[in-house]
């Protein structure tokens, strides 16, 4: 006997077609490119798995991958706790709620390339507000165009400035959904602020934080525009993240085969880490 109506699946079809058109078919083309060599004119030569072998053994790829993990790790350990802290400090009711929400949403409304350009000008040592202040007022030797550490500090700060709001807004949404009764019960039991956070607020925020961490992981792992506009991958190669290196290979050197192989490896890593995060964070709910 049929107990479920399966007609709803047909409503998913348009999305499936759209995804096929904008993701699946281009992806298949990348797979095809990754085993061939081309010099343009739509003429291809079979190469087998040469490009994969070449990319997997290249120091350049290892270095870019290392920088990419470093970048993602740093922004996650800064943005997630900072976002939670700001969300906890925000008012839950009254006049200041919409003001805070709008202020928080502002950085996310700015296009990525504009964020890169803004921070570039902001951080330039001689004319930028931040660069000039650090160098000439505080006397700190800071030049993101010459010094790799300064460049890293700048791209991390820029990403924190741009995307902590996302964590804040999601964590805040989780916080306001907690019924007052929980806090009252905690008060009667004489719970400390830390216990309230640990046993009421954090578990209630878990689902939205899972989404926040996943989104920030995927976004930061695939980041291109902001660091490209800010540092162009320099000085040297010190801020050349995976996607910047990928574009250099694909468009700069027109090595489409190796670039396709590299993007598939990149995709597999993103898929695996996303799966791992999601599985670990939802494990207890499902069991």
């Amino acid at each position: 006997m049929k107990t479920e109506n399966q007609k709803a699946w047909f409503f998913v079809l348009p999305v499936l077609l759209l995804v096929a058109f904008n993701a699946l078919i281009p992806m298949m083309t990348v797979v095809n490119y990754s085993v061939q060599e081309t010099f343009g004119d739509n003429i291809f030569f079979w190469e087998g798995l040469t490009w994969f072998e070449q990319i997997l053994r290249s120091d350049r790829f290892h270095a870019a991958l290392g920088r990419q993990f470093m970048f993602t790790f740093l922004i996650l350990i800064i943005e997630v706790p900072l976002g939670i802290a700001i969300a906890l400090a925000m008012p839950r009711q009254g006049f200041w709620v919409p003001v805070c929400l709008v202020l928080m949403a502002l950085p996310m409304l700015i296009p990525w390339n504009v964020v890169g350009a803004m921070w570039n000008i902001f951080a330039l040592p001689d004319i930028g507000l931040l660069g000039y202040f650090l160098n000439h007022v505080l006397g700190i030797n800071y030049d993101m165009t010459q010094d790799p550490i300064a460049a890293w500090v700048t791209i991390i700060t820029m990403d924190v400035w741009h995307w902590t709001s996302l964590v804040v807004l999601l964590a805040y949404a989780g916080l306001v959904s907690i019924p007052e009764a929980y806090y009252q019960a905690a008060k009667i039991d004489g719970a400390s602020n830390w216990s309230v956070f640990r046993f009421i607020q954090l578990p209630k925020m878990k689902n939205v934080l899972t989404i926040a961490i996943l989104l920030r992981f995927m976004d930061s792992f695939n980041i291109y525009t902001e660091p490209f506009v800010l540092t162009g991958g320099g000085p040297g190669n010190s801020t050349t993240l995976l996607s910047i290196d990928l574009v250099k290979i694909a468009l700069g050197q027109f090595d489409l085969g190796p670039a396709a192989a590299m993007s598939l490896i990149y995709f597999a890593i993103t898929l695996f880490v996303s799966w791992l995060f999601y599985t670990l964070m939802t494990k207890d709910d499902l069991n």
Partner: protein
């Protein structure tokens, strides 16, 4: 019409295999609904779809690791991957 996609037989076979597997799972799901959910050796609750996903993801990493660390030929990782697939559907 499809020349811009630069198809080759080996890559086409990969996709035919992948879509056949998804198609086969759909047929099995219609016949035996519920996805054969169970808690496997990884401590995760998995369905048939999850097990196929883990098989494919694991296979790609087995091959990539072998290519990076050892190189051609690829018979050994093929064997490991088949073993991994059997393990996924049997125990995970």
């Amino acid at each position: 019409m499809l020349s811009w996609m630069a198809w080759t037989w080996p890559t086409a076979l990969v996709f035919i295999g992948l879509f056949s597997a998804i198609g086969l799972l759909t047929v099995i799901e219609i016949k035996y609904p519920g996805g054969a959910e169970r808690k496997g050796i990884l401590g995760l609750v998995t369905t048939r779809g999850d097990r196929l996903f883990l098989t494919c993801l694991g296979t790609s990493f087995i091959f990539l690791a072998w290519l990076g660390l050892v190189g051609m030929p690829l018979w050994a990782p093929l064997g490991i991957s088949i073993g991994w697939g059997i393990l996924c559907f049997w125990k995970v």
